[in-house]
């Protein structure tokens, strides 16, 4: 199948359209081929947060690179807002944060974002105001004049997000934006993504933190061994199980027994009674949440 058509079903081009995408890599001298992406087709609608999930090696990052035109597909194609990915024009409306981002260590945060902004055609007061806006948005205003080489992992992710946002793209592609980031940083990243969604941005995100994906995404696709194995609304895929759970204050054993007897008298069964526990992440965030994060120590 060739590259997708320029327009979606409703006449508005989808933010991302992938059709029959295949990517093979040659392995070794004998020309053996490893299929990294296997006939993947999916559509991301403008304004939604879309999660691309899958274990390591499932083809998520390769799909993203194909989408950005950094790799050439073996077959099929993809388009961003109707523009085929291989064209430079397709990247004008995209901000990309790679997995475990690495930036020019000799530049300060401000110089780095300025560099990427100028590459995207920004200049003068427009660039300056956009720079201040995105640096403040990601919470790095106080550290923007420090060398990137002194930044912690969380700060690198945030300056990465700032460079992805500097030209105000309609689509953001975030590859494992919370990998290696502590739970507080991870929660802040989630808040940022929701704020971006509220501004009308489309977000494609990959992550191993399924709980976070569930909170953030409207729809998800699951890849395994290069192929698409599930796709749909989060509520649809991870929705009701046909079962019910209650939460109440601690009850004495005789009241639990009475509850069990009451249910049994109606032909039901009380299957589990367990003390509710706080999640470790909650405990961590309660103790470690510490106000403005741009004073965070560097490496």
């Amino acid at each position: 199948m060739g590259a997708p058509g320029p327009e979606g079903a409703a006449g508005v081009p989808p933010a991302i359209e992938i059709r029959g995408l295949v990517k093979d890599f040659a392995v070794g001298l004998r020309g053996l081929r490893l299929r990294a992406v296997d006939h993947v087709s999916l559509t991301v609608r403008p304004g939604e947060v879309f999660g691309l999930l899958g274990p390591n090696g499932s083809g998520k990052s390769t799909t993203i690179k194909l989408l950005l035109g950094l790799l050439e597909p073996t077959a099929g194609g993809c388009a961003i807002f109707g523009v085929p990915s291989g064209r430079v024009e397709a990247r004008r409306d995209v901000g990309y944060l790679p997995e475990a981002p690495n930036f020019y260590r000799f530049l300060t945060g401000r110089e780095l974002v300025t560099f990427y902004g100028r590459l995207c055609g920004l200049a003068g007061s427009g660039l300056r105001s956009k720079l201040e806006e995105v640096v403040a948005l990601v919470g790095l205003a106080g550290a923007a004049d420090r060398r990137v080489g002194t930044y912690s992992k969380g700060m690198l992710q945030r300056i990465g997000l700032a460079q992805a946002l500097v030209h105000d793209p309609r689509l953001l592609i975030l590859d494992e934006p919370t990998a290696g980031v502590d739970p507080v940083g991870s929660a802040e990243m989630a808040e940022l993504i929701l704020a971006l969604k509220a501004r009308g941005k489309t977000v494609l995100i990959t992550s191993h933190l399924l709980g976070q994906i569930e909170e953030l995404c409207d729809r998800v696709a699951i890849l395994d061994r290069g192929g698409l194995v599930a796709e749909g609304e989060v509520a649809e895929l991870a929705g009701a199980t046909g079962r019910l759970s209650f939460e109440t204050e601690v009850l004495p054993p005789e009241e639990i027994a009475a509850l069990r007897a009451w249910l049994e008298s109606r032909g039901r069964r009380l299957e589990a009674v367990a003390p509710a526990r706080r999640r470790l992440e909650e405990v961590f965030r309660t103790h470690v949440g510490r106000g403005p994060r741009d004073t965070e120590g560097g490496r």
Partner: protein, 278 residues
């Protein structure tokens, strides 16, 4: 939808960043300091002049440092600055912006060209100062030894510096071409040095084959000489006397020769990098 056209400004931005990165690397700073020290210290090595006049010996030392250490700097910088973008994955973020791959490749080449220009300019300036200083000293000590109007031509020294830079520019373009398809930095560096040797020695091979009358050898050497530039062409400033200054036409011919080879190698590098998977 408006097309994104090739932009020289984006290539310059990438070049500026490349130069900035290079100027912060200790290895390149060390090579520059070593070359400066050799140029300045040649005065104290004049006992090893093998019979050459002293000022000529000083100039040969300066240009020798520029040629040898400049080639090492250019080859290492081209390979290192290109592969650091790929290996550190900064190229991913950069090429995910609306940037043409040609802009990236040309930006890298211009960055290295600027680095070698700074290197050659600093060394040429220092060499000129050293020669002027020693010439003044010799005129004072041995007034008869330096004939009026027969001293050092600084225009000739500047021309020598320009020729060295043109040679390094061509070398950078060829090394970059190799880097765009090579899988390792080491391969690019080794191949860069091989290219340097071929470019320097091809005229000797041609002479040898011509003397031997070997048709196969002549065909092979002709092929090599049409693919690789002959670095002997850049030996325009072999003397320090103003009277030996080459004609402007000859200088322009060498500049066009160097730029043509650099442009051809850069063009091939762009084609090669277009299909490279990042």
């Amino acid at each position: 939808m408006n097309a994104v056209r090739f932009s020289a400004l984006r290539a310059w931005l990438i070049a500026g960043n490349t130069l900035r990165e290079a100027s912060r690397q200790r290895f390149f700073q060390f090579l520059l300091l070593l070359a400066l020290a050799l140029t300045l210290g040649a005065r104290w090595l004049r006992d090893f002049n093998f019979g050459a006049p002293e000022l000529k010996f000083l100039a040969d030392c300066g240009f020798g440092a520029m040629a040898f250490l400049g080639a090492a700097l250019t080859i290492a910088a081209t390979a290192q600055l290109f592969f650091s973008e790929v290996e550190n994955r900064t190229a991913l973020t950069l090429l995910a912006k609306p940037v043409w791959r040609a802009e990236f490749v040309l930006g890298k080449l211009l960055g290295v060209a600027a680095l070698s220009a700074v290197f050659c300019a600093l060394l040429t300036g220092l060499l000129s100062l050293t020669l002027a200083w020693r010439e003044a000293e010799l005129s004072r000590l041995l007034p008869d030894a330096v004939a009026p109007g027969g001293g050092v031509s600084h225009a000739m020294v500047a021309l020598g510096g320009l020729m060295q830079w043109l040679r390094l520019l061509v070398l950078a373009a060829f090394t970059l071409l190799v880097a765009t398809f090579a899988q390792s930095q080491l391969f690019s560096v080794v191949t860069g040095f091989l290219i340097l040797v071929v470019c320097h020695l091809q005229h000797l091979a041609q002479d040898a084959y011509a003397r031997a009358g070997s048709a196969a050898g002549l065909i092979a050497s002709s092929l090599i000489s049409s693919v690789f530039p002959d670095f002997q062409v850049f030996q325009l400033a072999d003397s320090l006397a103003a009277a030996d200054l080459p004609a402007t036409g000859d200088v322009l011919r060498v500049i066009v020769y160097a730029l043509s080879y650099a442009a051809a190698a850069a063009g091939l590098a762009v084609v090669s990098f277009r299909r490279r998977e990042i």
